[in-house]
Symmetry: C2
Subunit: 484 residues, 2 copies
């Protein structure tokens, strides 16, 4: 019977264990811990992520002290370390929340207190939900709900003035970072000199460097031109790729447009250069455009890289593999908590596409409420619809008018609300200033054992309650110091 | 000015590009594709995930045919390939949806049509949300909202009869698979013979083998004893680990209890054996208990591995590193679409814990609606509360009564609803039957070019509309054939 088996197994095991205990010691593994800094995955250890680093931990401590009534020269901490509009007090878009609430609790479809257009959106999404459910409680297809991918395709087509979009190339994701990590995962291969190299701008948003470290790819820095409003300089791209070829296989170029943390909007001329660079040097392009709806300065407008490619003709467009990423977390809606997002991946080898779908299916599906939120972002109330006025009052914007001013921008919040006025005035000003180059005498810094940017950010936090992140977290030329 | 820079950069690039084009050809990389099956990440290529594999694709095709009015011997496809209770027609728990809807659209807190206890839960969650928001639209802490982690700790403590739980060891996740992947990520290291080995039961739920492939760890199979109701046999564990030491460093043991796909509930004696195995051989334990609320057979009850360890005394308990995983997707609530989950990680080296928090912070936070859903799962309506009756009517269960029958179980749905009666009668019956060992003459199988289990599942699908998955997707002894 089972009992006997248990007993004899126990005896059997006792012998085994002693033997193992010795072996284990010989391997020099700690008797008490399997998992230590020494034994853990070195690629994970190498990951850095400043936007939630030491400054942010300090900010949390100060917030707790304020709650405990400890007096400070300020009454609240302004967490400008990360683009989190709602945490900064932005009110949500009513229509978006109505649609997601209706999808969550469909009994509300009978409630007179919800507008008809919100109900129509919700009913359409529920119809698209899995199996018998007509309900957000079931897994969706791993690629995301069909009707939402169709809405995303329509949104992109409108944004790009008619450039075709195939819904089968749209994948809903758990925020943009999830999509970026999965595409990068496909691309990482090779050992030593043939290991996949990934070119990222410096300064960059650190999820790129983090994903590169985690996957053991090779990070290739190309430096943006601070003297020229953080412009992309192709000579620098050229230097970076040629140097990198000595120690890796450069395969991927990441473009962050609008720039994060720089706030730079690429001009057409610069993107044409990138196009040459891609079509003649064969790079897989990562296009981060999560701030495409945050273009606010007069005269600046977002032009998608894909659109420029397309307009340059098939000899450029047809051969370029590219993945572009968007998110519900930024833009006018700033819905960070829902972890919604999408990516478009074009000209992907069909066999690789099957591999991508398989990879996504292991995580089953993106959160369905986040998918619903994404749908409202790309399919907001239209003029003439019941909720349109309310939507515009909430700070929503019309699709196609992404060039118009909106004050819900990462830069504004990241600079702290009191700087808003300057920013609204600013045109091509940097979102990544360097006020700390000459502010502190070196001996004072040495005394605190911190680099100038970290010291500046710590002091700013302690004295004003404004939490910004040192430039070191985003990358900066040696000897220069910034904050975001 | 910028225009001039653009021009000169363009010229500069032209030279570069030609040179590159040649180099690229020399590297033998396809002129048209950077990313191909040949160049892609081989670890991703190695991933297998049957529960969304060819059978499921076929099921989707048949569903479309039914929609088009094509006649079949059945009127609907029963997707029994994956535990998705809502897709199988289960109604959601009203209380859970009310709380999540209230968190999504707090204006509803003023609505008389929502019960007070649901409003109290929602207000508490909103209070715990980030920054100024009191709103699910802001990122939460990467580890999850404090108040929900506290509720999880109370739930686990109650389930384990008072075994202490520290909320700081609780991490909210994007479903269980996200937690499993992240902890495994920490553990993978070493090259060749010292590469991390992970012991998994065969049959297993394929997210384990998928995560192992993706991370390039070494999969070590230990076979469950089919003749003994898929019991865990320590002699088999012993064989597996000793054999594995020749080609890797076995560091991790995964226990799936209740078993998936076997439906087996471990008995105490078996878990004591596992305890010896852990404390004397130093393994990091992965405990998958997502079906802990699905124990329905008379006389069977779920006992947590941690509780058994604890009761055996500090010499066992204090040294064992273990991570246990739970999810909103299974259990009586079956909320798959919200991607909610949590893990408890105990006795983790403090330095490694900091690394884990950093790793989680790169993905920012789990979806907040899923966190709210998780809160209701661990903190459901209590006797005397307004929503309690409705909750029980919905099929909810009282915490602590996890031994009582509930018919919302993976096994029932995975076997197709018409088999429910047999299953409810069944006591220690397997959830992973092998009816196909001798059913088909070999020549017939050869004619179809499929292994017997795949052939059986395809035929079952085409003739009855029931979609089950071949045993090969979960692992099975050579020459045996099963389905789930």
């Amino acid at each position: 019977g089972r009992r006997n088996i248990a007993v004899c197994n126990c005896k059997g095991l006792a012998k085994l264990s002693t033997a193992d205990a010795v072996e284990v010691k010989e391997n020099g593994r700690s008797r008490h811990k399997i998992l230590t800094l020494k034994t853990m995955n070195p690629q994970v250890k190498a990951v850095e992520y400043a936007v939630r680093g030491p400054i942010v931990i300090k900010a949390g401590e100060i917030e707790k002290e304020l709650q405990q009534g400890i007096k400070k020269p300020f009454s609240e901490v302004i967490k400008a370390n990360i683009g989190d509009a709602h945490a900064m007090g932005q009110q949500p878009i009513t229509f978006l929340r109505q649609v997601v609430a209706l999808c969550t609790y469909p009994e509300l479809l009978d409630s007179p207190s919800f507008p008809e257009d919100a109900k129509r959106r919700a009913e359409r999404i529920l119809q698209s939900c899995g199996g018998h459910s007509l309900d957000t409680g079931a897994y969706s297809a791993s690629q995301g709900l069909d009707c939402i991918r169709e809405d995303v395709a329509m949104y992109m087509k409108k944004r790009d003035g008619g450039v075709p979009v195939d819904p089968n190339n749209i994948y809903l994701t758990t925020g943009a970072s999830d999509g970026i990590a999965n595409i990068l995962k496909l691309l990482v291969s090779g050992e030593g000199n043939s290991r996949t190299g990934v070119m990222i701008p410096i300064p960059q948003y650190p999820l790129y460097s983090a994903a590169i470290s985690e996957l053991g790819a090779v990070q290739i820095n190309y430096y943006l031109d601070e003297e020229n409003c953080w412009a992309l300089d192709v000579n620098e791209l050229r230097r970076a790729v040629n140097q990198a070829k000595e120690y890796c296989d450069p395969k991927v170029v990441c473009l962050i447009n609008p720039g994060n943390p720089t706030g730079r909007i690429s001009t057409c001329s610069q993107r044409e250069i990138s196009v040459h660079f891609s079509t003649q040097c064969f790079f897989f392009f990562f296009l981060n455009k999560v701030y495409q709806d945050n273009v606010y300065a007069e005269g600046c407008q977002f032009h998608s890289f894909k659109k420029v490619l397309y307009e340059m003709g098939p000899e450029y467009f047809s051969s370029v593999e590219l993945a572009s990423f968007h998110s519900t977390s930024k833009g006018y809606m700033g819905e960070c908590g829902y972890r919604g997002g999408y990516m478009e991946v074009i000209h992907l080898d069909p066999e690789v596409k099957a591999q991508l779908v398989k990879l996504l299916s292991v995580r089953l599906c993106p959160p369905v409420p986040g998918q619903a939120a994404m749908d409202v972002v790309v399919n907001p109330p239209q003029p003439g619809e019941e909720s349109y006025e309310q939507f515009i009052k909430n700070g929503g914007i019309e699709i196609g008018n992404t060039g118009e001013k909106t004050f819900v921008t990462l830069s504004l919040f990241n600079m702290g609300r009191q700087l808003r006025i300057n920013w609204a005035k600013a045109k091509c000003q940097s979102d990544f200033p360097n006020p700390v180059n000459t502010r502190f005498p070196n001996d004072l810094l040495k005394a605190h054992g911190m680099p100038p940017d970290m010291f500046y950010c710590m002091r700013l936090l302690e004295q004003t309650g404004i939490c910004v992140v040192p430039g070191s977290g985003f990358g900066q030329k040696e000897g220069t110091y910034h904050f975001r």
